[in-house]
């Protein structure tokens, strides 16, 4: 079920190439993460749209392999 940090970063980068991504493994179990993601692609989007962009980059893994990823998004 677990998804390693590098895999998450890679998936996000594929959809959001300019993203700066900081990911913390909250429990050290590769299953509960917090991510801070900054990208120019967020600049003209509201929060819901920003988070949807991140969820879409994870290609259906969110809510499945990836149970807990808390997301903070910011424009650049």
């Amino acid at each position: 079920m677990a998804l390693p940090v590098e895999e998450i970063k890679k998936l996000i980068k594929e959809s959001i190439p300019d993203a700066s991504i900081e990911i913390k493994d909250l429990m050290g179990d590769s299953n509960h993460y917090a991510a801070i993601i900054k990208s120019k692609m967020f600049n003209n989007l509201n929060k819901i749209e920003q988070h949807k962009l991140v969820y879409k980059s994870l290609k259906g893994k969110m809510g499945n392999e990836l149970h807990a990823l808390s997301i903070t998004t910011e424009g650049k």
């Binding site: 819901i48 988070h51 949807k52 969820y55 809510g63 903070t72």
Partner: protein
Amino acid sequence: MEINEKIKNLLNENDVCLFMKGTPESPQCGFSMAVTNVLKHLNINFNGINVLEDENLRQGIKDFSDWPTIPQLYVKSEFIGGCDIIKEMFEKGELKKLFEEKKII
């Protein structure tokens, strides 16, 4: 289609709906608990809908909003966000403002 009708009815019946895991009295997931606590803190009357009791609803609400996670907060039928967005809005004072603008408080 049927599940979408059910969701729309739930949203029409209550100004503030939280689709969550567990109940407001006994949330079954930390994220649902966090949003419940925020709403209680702001003294918001809300209908907590337990998606764990209905597998159709659990998937249906994700399709309805095109949002892959639970909890999901709706105010006057509008999707406001999941746990991260609600917590961020609360911390910035934006959530209270939204409830005021929507004439909930």
